[in-house]
Amino acid sequence: MQTDSSSSSGSVPGGDERAVLVTLLGRSSRGDEAAFAEVYDLTSARVYGLARRVVRDPAQAEEVAQEAYLEIWRQSARYDEARGNPLAWILTIVHRRAVDRVRSAESARERDTRYAIAGDGPDYDVVEEAVTATLETARVRKALTSLTMVQREAITLAYYGGYTHREVSELLDVPLGTVKTRMRDGLIRLRDTLGVEA
């Protein structure tokens, strides 16, 4: 996996990223700002890209990313390796912040309106022009194509769109149980295609 920042802190070979991040988070928890800068450099493109994809507005995406990094810094001592990959922990924090942002903003609006304006369907084409093409990006995009269309649709609406499973069920006009199944089956297939370690 390449370092995905525009800064040039060097690249981290694929399998090592997890170990490197664990070490860097440990140092961060002891107040080591240089270590956290490395965490930032290794993750910022994914963190910012995810925030941007969910909240869409670039200025708000920056705010979400900044709040998330601050929380990651504060909570770094509480990351527990037994609870999974540090990158997943980081991105869960980012995603929760981004989703909180859109859900609170959207609650004041008619979400269906936006959906309707978006045209004949939700934007589940995950290929965005502005996005950096890295090897890992290409690999994940390819893996996404291994999902069935309905699985991909449910997953991208939930993860990138920030919709709840109930909203996804409404948007797609399919029963809630079907949506749950599509999400779970789709993620299992994605996991198996990517060879994610448990």
């Binding site: 709040e67 909570q75 890992e136 749950k180 199944t181 990517l194």
Partner: protein, 249 residues
């Protein structure tokens, strides 16, 4: 949880995608406590979910790096959670214990004791405009709604009331003030964490306004009390006047 629906296992995907609402997520976390198969599945699905960020990776603007790194220099990382202290169990399991709807009611009741509910939410919305990056509205509402939030209230001797809401899990406290008299010219309400020896550490300032909420700077973990004093604008290194409010936390 005794009310697990038969298909609760099927929620693992939606949970890993962050697609459950707060109540459902709380219920599912309760289920995770007793279902090792779901725990393992959620762990692996969450990692698959995280890889979705790779597909949308976008170089961040340079100024984000600058602001993140200058932001962290002003914030102390929380201490690790110590398993020996029962009150400070790990975040996920603590959250599982109380369904969030119950938590909402409890916190809402506590906050209502001091401030009208509308005022709190208006305050939380206003906070977005006045606070620094360490004290966003999201942080304030996250503390107020944290499952382990505890609230203490007190009267301010110069008028008005205040509540301190603390979440030890988050390592954060929020001060909610209601009906505070405006600070005299050239003065400001400064907030302090006091440890058990009485040593004071500045925790920030009460924002102006009839109803205000502010995320306190610093970790409430070692604080025995929170106090407020009137200090010259800009604040003091140590309290210089008799507290107008002191509450044990």
């Amino acid at each position: 949880m005794t009310s697990d629906a038969p298909d609760i296992h099927a929620l693992s995907g939606a949970y890993a995608l962050g697609a459950l609402d707060a109540d459902e997520a709380g219920a599912f976390e309760g289920h995770l406590e007793s279902c090792a198969a779901c725990r393992d599945e959620v762990l692996s699905l969450t990692e698959a979910t995280a890889s979705l960020a790779d597909a949308v990776a976008t170089p961040a603007p340079d100024r984000l790096r600058t602001s993140v790194l200058s932001g962290i220099s002003e914030v102390r990382p929380l201490p690790p959670l110590l398993p020996a202290e029962p009150a400070r169990t790990d975040e996920v399991s603590a959250r599982r214990r109380v369904p969030r709807s119950t938590v909402w009611l409890r916190v809402a009741a506590a906050v209502l004791a001091v401030v009208a509910a509308g005022a709190v939410w208006r305050t939380v919305a206003l906070t977005a405009q006045v606070d620094s990056i360490t004290a966003t509205a999201a942080d304030v509402s996250a503390v107020i709604t944290a499952p382990d939030a505890t609230t203490v209230t007190g009267s301010v001797s110069t008028g008005g009331r205040a509540a301190v809401v603390t979440s030890q899990q988050r390592g954060q406290s929020v001060l909610v003030a209601d009906g505070l008299a405006p600070a005299p010219a050239g003065k400001t309400y400064q907030i302090w964490f006091l440890d058990s020896s009485g040593a004071a550490t500045s925790a920030g300032f009460v924002p102006a306004g009839d109803h205000s909420a502010v995320l306190l700077q610093g970790d409430p973990g070692r604080a025995a009390a929170v106090g407020v004093t009137l200090e010259p604008t800009g604040g003091s290194a140590q309290p210089t006047t008799t507290p107008v409010l002191a509450v044990q936390v």
